[in-house]
């Protein structure tokens, strides 16, 4: 299973990627939306975990761009705002789920596995 992690906080996303790798999940990480779109074009990811609020291209735009090529790509959003409105908006936009930062690694893996299975 291959996961792409996207967040403008480099310290956060690299650590998260490393932890997933330690748990046997093939995880790539990028720190902006443009790179995420490029990565998704060059490789197929089962699940994309992406921060909603990022400079230049936000998480929702990243989802739109990637889905233009791969309509079945699964997206799990992360947000620091922690509002139920964000979760609802993400689900309405077609995301699998939305998690609040800081993210519990076990919950994240569970969601990723669920998303990958569907």
């Amino acid at each position: 299973m291959r996961v792409l992690l996207v967040d403008d906080e480099e310290e956060f996303i690299t650590a998260l990627a490393e932890r997933l790798v330690l748990r046997g999940i093939d995880a790539d990480c990028v720190t902006n939306g443009m790179d995420a779109v490029h990565f998704a074009q060059s490789r197929k990811y089962d699940v994309v975990v992406v921060d909603i609020k990022m400079p230049k291209i936000c998480g929702l735009d990243v989802m739109k761009s990637i889905r233009e090529k791969d309509a079945n790509a699964k997206f799990i959003f992360m947000t620091g705002h922690g509002s139920e409105d964000n979760v609802r908006a993400c689900r309405e936009a077609g995301a699998w789920d939305c998690l609040f930062k800081p993210v519990n690694i076990d919950v994240l893996i569970e969601k990723v596995l669920q998303a990958a299975k569907t």
């Binding site: 906080e9 310290e11 400079p55 947000t79 509002s83 930062k101 800081p102 690694i105």
Partner: protein, 581 residues
Amino acid sequence: MLTIWSKIVPKFWRAQVDLSGEQQDVSYYSRIWKIAVVGIATVSLVPLIAMTLMNMKQYGSALKTEIIFPVSRLVSNTKRTITDFLTERRAALTYIVQDPTLDATCAQPCLSTILKRLKSSHGGFVDLGIIDSLGLQRAYVGPYDLKGKDYSEQDWFKEVLVKGVYVSDAFAGYRKIPHFVIAVKQELDNGDFYILRATIDTNKFNDLIVSLGLRPSSDAFLINQRGILQTPSRFHGGVLEKIELSIPHASTRTEIQEISDEEGRRSIMGYAYIEGSPFIFVVLQQEKELMKSVDKLRRILSLFLGISVTLILIVVFAAATHLVNRIYEADMKRTSALHTIEHTNKMASTGRLAAGVAHEINNPLAIINEKAGLLKDFLSLSEELPPRDKLVGLVDSILYSVERCGVITHRLLGFARHIDVRSEPIDLGNFLQEVLGFLGKEAQYRNITVNMNVADQLPVIESDRGRLQQVFLNVINNAFAAVQDGGRIDISAKPSTPDRVAVTITDDGCGIPPENLRAVFEPFFSTKGDKGTGLGLSITYGLVQKLGGEISVESGVNKGTSFTITLPLKQPGVPHESIVS
């Protein structure tokens, strides 16, 4: 007693502090109340008082005329009666004296018969006498022994020689009883003459005056032209005494005049000169008695006026109090509503702030979570520990993230503690940076360029930090809402006058159309639809005014908007607090 007083005194009179805890100008309401009371009372009372006074005067003069008329009529009628009385007796004597058989040699029995007939036909005659041209009474019939009396030196004798017919005024004479005389001169063919003289009892006049049936306070009498009473007076002396009143001026008609006695009592005097005699008939009636009905009318009108004025004043007071109370209550409600709105806006600002802060804190918390989690993973999942540098790097990241959280929480504390109204020194440069700190991430996410241009040596101002934060958060938030992603916001601060500084926030956003520009500071004006309350700028306007400053706006459609907030170096009327711990 205190409870009744507290019910009477209007609410606005007691109010000292309004809901926001600031001193309230209660004199404004008492001034409105006074203007209302004076205005309404003047408009309603002046016509009423004027009408009542005019009525009182007109009714008074009409009633006076009505009252005086009977006096005048009484005098006229009595004058006619007296004149007739004298005329009849004079005519009778003239008729008798022309009888050729009657002369100075007339026998006593003949004269006696004439007197008897006169008494029975006319009345009032006491005696009759014939006086020759020398003044000697040649014949006499009557109750006294007056035959042979010499009248040649008496005034009446001299008068009758000149006038032919003479009516004397009353005098006591030989008999010492008041009487008057009618004397008629008869010329004889031989050039001699004689006089028929009759004495009339003044009691006839007394009876006449008694028969008038005057009020006990009224007086009527005859006087002669020297002011000697010819009949007794109730209040001015007996017969032949001189009265204290001045003699009324001569007139052929009945006259009415008002006089005052020595004690200041006013009387109505009616009088008439009796033609062909020395008599003046006088009627005196006390004005107080006569004017009783006028006084009663005046009392009734005064009572009516008093009750009306009292009722009007009660209504005016009650209406003005009710009116001003309603204004006061409406103002209080408005103040309360504005206070609530202001509070709501503050809460909304705080909500926005909280959302921003949560995001800012959650990001470093996420880093800490992942770095600490990774450390744990290394310890629990890996057989070998990673190199030492890697572990130190993870711990450094955690420490750095903790520091980031610390900066944010400190900044938040700086915001939260300025709730009360107070004045403290504020360095506007640092202050604006602090405000922007909360919006920096949004600028970064939306690629908005924020330029700060603070003049060198910008003076430190004294103001209310909490309110100022709300003002600039509102205006800068509006600028963020106006600009597109990738837009630009310029913030400049510089002295505008020696005692004021101006902060200008300019954006290159969509701008405000001229028709909306005038309304931007009005409550509930919004172009954001459901997203805006329309209160932000109106509250900002109110806050800037409270801080003693001014806010103005310039805008051009698609050119951008520029808000300028001018603040005084010292906030007026707020106690200074130099240090906020």
